[in-house]
């Protein structure tokens, strides 16, 4: 009897065996998904961009003439169901396991329909939670078609490098789909998505290094695609665009964002024609302290410890050895930064009625239940009326390798 039972169980294995099995080469790996609006409500234009494995691989010689990517656009009601329709054009089973980005057109994002279609991402096991959301100024399908990287021809590599580096410099936020759902379903705060475009608009004339949004940057050469700034989502609906500078400030104020050092310029306090180039680094966590009062305005104190390395003083004013000048700079930089931050905070308080810094995390401890927290209403009651004090604390100011600048008088002698 035992023996028969054992045989039976052993035989069950091959009977069910190999379910789910797919050979790697029988799948097409979609790297980017594009989502657009159509005229019909409930129908979307879905774009799949799959990588061609044969391009860029030293192992094979046959694929060198082929395109590095295959981009297919079709209409459909659902992201996952559209995969099968796409197979009418694409040869292999479509796998979303390695998808890096979801590109959403600004039109769709602003319409509020975006939440409906992206909802599928939480159900399926295929799409990673670390997929980044990009909002494109034009249609997502156009964005994906026009994006022709020159060096990283393989799409996954392009997005990987592009997004990692741009996030490190802070000009775009980290906009993982997981964070999107966290913030949207948390019913507080606003979500920042990466803003990008392939269409060059009129270049902005009076822009400093990060005061642009994508499309405005006067760049010559390279790939037409620009990543700069962020799209603000409140309750799953896009309401505004932030410039690169504002995004940077938001990244600094938000402790959940990973940001390394960034280069930034400040107007020279001694000579307004020039700007001082600095390396701004925040190597200690941002400290957010919230004092919650039920019937009074809540107090939010934010302290940002940071370090400044002066990398260039084009005005050639001696800030390093002149003690007075140094003192001036030490007081001036935090003041300027605070001014920027306060402007942004004010904008969020007045315009968005909610924050983009994920500060609601720090107030949750005052509530014993979710109901209580939701009743207190961070978005409409607490945050817009809060007294917010942003304090930039300059921990270190140093002047790079060389203390002295070249003496212009002597050089021109």
């Amino acid at each position: 009897m035992m023996r028969k039972l054992l045989m039976f169980t052993v035989l069950l294995v091959p009977l069910a065996g190999c379910y789910d099995q797919t050979e790697v080469e029988q799948q097409s790996y979609v790297i980017a998904i594009g989502l657009d609006k159509t005229d019909d409500e409930g129908t979307f234009r879905i774009t799949f961009q799959a990588a061609n494995p044969e391009v860029g691989s030293t192992l094979s010689s046959g694929g060198s003439q082929e395109e590095p990517r295959e981009t297919v656009t079709l209409e459909g009601n659902d992201l996952i169901a559209a995969k099968d329709t796409a197979n009418s054009v694409m040869t292999k089973q479509i796998a979303l396991d390695h998808t890096k980005v979801v590109v959403v057109s600004e039109e769709l994002a602003r319409s509020g329909e975006f939440l409906r279609i992206i909802q599928a991402a939480t159900r399926t096991t295929e799409l990673r939670r670390s997929v980044q959301i990009i909002v494109s100024k034009e249609n997502a399908s156009d964005f994906l078609k026009n994006n022709q990287p020159l060096l990283e021809t393989r799409p996954h590599k392009y997005y990987q490098y592009m997004l990692t580096r741009a996030t490190q410099t802070g000009i775009i936020p980290e906009s993982e789909i997981h964070r999107f759902f966290q913030i949207t379903e948390g019913d507080a705060d606003a979500f920042l998505a990466i803003y990008a475009t392939t269409e060059q608009t009129e270049p902005k004339e009076t822009g400093n290094e990060d005061q642009y949004i994508a499309g405005e940057i006067p760049v010559e050469g390279g790939n037409p695609t620009q990543f700069m700034g962020s799209a603000v989502f409140v309750e799953g609906k896009m309401i505004d665009i932030l410039s690169g500078q504002e995004t940077r400030v938001a990244n600094i104020l938000d402790d959940t964002m990973d940001m390394e050092a960034l280069y930034s310029t400040f107007p020279d306090p001694k000579d307004k024609r020039y700007r001082i180039a600095t390396n701004f680094s925040k190597d200690r966590p941002t400290d957010v302290k919230i004092e919650y009062h039920k019937n009074q305005p809540t107090k939010i104190n934010v302290t940002i410890p940071f370090t400044i390395e002066v990398v260039g003083v084009p005005s050639l004013v001696d800030y390093s050895k002149n003690k007075e000048n140094r003192k001036l700079l030490e007081a001036y930089i935090p003041k300027l930064a605070e001014e920027q931050a306060n402007n942004l905070v004010k904008k969020t308080q007045e315009q968005y009625k909610t924050d983009i810094f994920y500060w609601s995390l720090y107030i949750r401890k005052y509530f014993t239940s979710i109901d209580e927290y939701e009743k207190a209403d961070w978005n409409n009651k607490i945050y817009p009326n809060a007294e917010i004090n942003v304090d930039y604390k300059l921990k270190q100011l140093y002047f790079g390798k060389m203390i002295d600048d070249s003496n212009l008088g002597e050089v021109r002698d």
């Binding site: 065996g17 099995q21 094979s60 694929g63 396991d97 390695h98 990673r128």
Partner: protein, 491 residues
């Protein structure tokens, strides 16, 4: 039934020795088919001391003729004395009273003397079996270790062990094995350390053997082991006398036999197969580094092919996109599924190994060329396998060589195939299941009553000499799983 029948027939060897020399000679000549048996020699001598006839019987091929001449024949012809024992100058003389003993003696290289008017036979050991000299170990190489290896002579082997461990308690007990050709199995142990239960167990198993002939240690292993169908061996086979000596010291039992250039150590644990004697000769860090590498090799060899199969078939989200695309582009022109591809390469690797082992020495280099060409290049260029599979299989093959012990090596190679198949069913799920079952099986094993994974599981007081070893100065205990009589080694 067959054996019983044999026992019942009248055995001509059981006949007692008679008083008549003539009768005895005739009987013995008949027993050994004198005349037909070319090297069976009989020499008749008239001894000077007694003026009586003495007949000498021996196999001329297995005795030392100078020794016979100088120690027996010459004294008999020339010396004067009262009695045979004072005449013969060789080490020892044994008396026997029946033909059974006489026959065994002659077979094992003794010369037997029959005296006129005496019902006793005297046998003198003049055996001189031919054997190799002491050479370097062939299979258990080491850089920093003694270079002597066992050879095919029991006496030499015992001497090699005694040379390393000077203790009066070191016992070399002989147990005759075999019904037709009797050979001694020498059981070596340290009397005041060894666990009596294990020793009794071994003795019993040796006594219970009912076969005509056990030629050597290698076949003895299969006769006395617990689970002949098991995937792991329960005795450790080694050709290094230093290894045998160190195991003896820890309370293990060593089995030796004539005709084997190795010994068997028992009881064993998983760790004995995993360790190499060189680990102990190397300094603490160096030895443990080498163990770490070997443990990695052990895992790689067991699992890498199976993991590749499961990851590519079921979990391709685990592969970084660059590698994934590289695999895909390589596999696009390969006509077989991954499992088949891996099996193809694994089997051809096994083929090369087997062929390389059996091929006559002068042809050896061809295997390298053919193997490298077929596997390394041609197969990839012909799109039969993808280059990544070649890397995987080469890695797993290479790693299997790092697990030096031959029994463990086979265990790993067989298990690898089980794992590949299990990975092909449901990916990581079944692979984890199979691995778990395999470890459970190891944990359930016992070698002569000692749990196979001890002292790790179950836990015993010991030096914790498992994956890593302690500083040699801090080793206080003998392995507790053996339950030795003397637990402390130091201090």
């Amino acid at each position: 039934m067959f054996f019983k029948k044999k026992k019942q027939t009248e055995d001509p060897k059981e006949v007692p020795i008679s008083n008549s020399l003539e009768k005895n000679t005739k009987h013995l000549k008949q027993l050994f088919s004198f005349g037909l048996n070319k090297d069976f020699s009989v020499r008749e001598i008239t001894a000077r001391y007694s003026n009586k006839k003495i007949n000498l019987f021996f196999y001329s091929s297995i005795v030392n003729s100078t020794k016979i001449h100088e120690g027996i024949i010459r004294p008999l012809l020339e010396a004067q004395g009262d009695d045979l024992t004072t005449i013969i100058t060789l080490e020892n003389i044994k008396e026997s009273k029946d033909f059974g003993e006489v026959v065994d003696d002659i077979n094992s290289g003794n010369i037997v003397l029959f005296l006129e008017d005496s019902n006793k036979a005297f046998s003198v050991n003049v055996a001189d079996f031919q054997h190799r000299g002491i050479e370097k170990p062939e299979n258990e190489n080491a850089v920093k270790a003694p270079k002597e290896a066992f050879t095919e002579s029991l006496y030499v082997n015992i001497s090699l062990i005694r040379k390393r461990f000077h203790d009066k308690q070191l016992i070399a007990e002989a147990k005759p094995v075999g019904a037709r050709s009797k050979l001694d199995v020498t059981v070596m142990y340290i009397k005041d350390v060894v666990n009596n239960e294990v020793l009794e167990n071994v003795r019993e198993r040796l006594d219970n053997l009912t076969i005509d002939n056990v030629r050597n240690i290698e076949s003895l292993e299969q006769y006395i082991e617990d689970r002949p169908y098991s995937i792991v061996s329960s005795l450790l086979y080694t050709e290094r006398p230093d290894r045998a000596a160190s195991y003896l010291e820890d309370g293990y039992i060593v089995l030796l036999m004539e005709n084997s250039s190795a010994c068997l150590i028992l009881p064993v644990t998983f760790w004995s197969f995993f360790h190499s004697e060189e680990d102990r000769y190397l300094r603490f860090l160096f030895g443990n580094f080498s163990r770490l590498i070997r443990f990695l090799a052990f895992l790689i060899s067991l699992l890498i092919s199976a993991v590749y199969v499961s990851v590519t078939n079921y979990h391709n989200e685990m592969i970084p996109p660059d590698l994934l695309l590289a695999i895909v582009s390589a596999r696009e022109r390969v006509p077989f599924p991954v499992v088949f591809e891996i099996m193809l390469m694994e089997v051809s690797f096994e083929l090369i190994r087997e062929a390389g082992l059996r091929i006559p020495n002068p042809l050896g280099p061809t295997i390298g060329i053919v193997g490298a060409l077929i596997i390394g290049q041609a197969a990839v260029e012909a799109n039969i396998v993808s280059p990544i599979v070649v890397i995987i299989v080469a890695l797993s093959g290479l790693s299997s060589f790092a697990v030096a012990n031959i029994s463990m090596n086979y265990t790993i190679r067989l298990t690898r195939f089980i794992f590949i198949f299990s990975a092909a069913f449901f990916g990581m799920l079944t692979l984890t299941g199979a691995f778990l079952l395999w470890v459970m099986y190891l944990a359930s094993l016992r070698s002569f009553g000692v749990p196979f994974l001890a002292p790790l599981s179950p836990n015993f007081q010991s030096n914790r000499d498992t994956i890593f070893r302690k500083m040699i100065k801090n080793e206080y205990f003998r392995p507790g799983q053996l339950k030795p009589k003397d637990m402390r080694k130091k201090g």
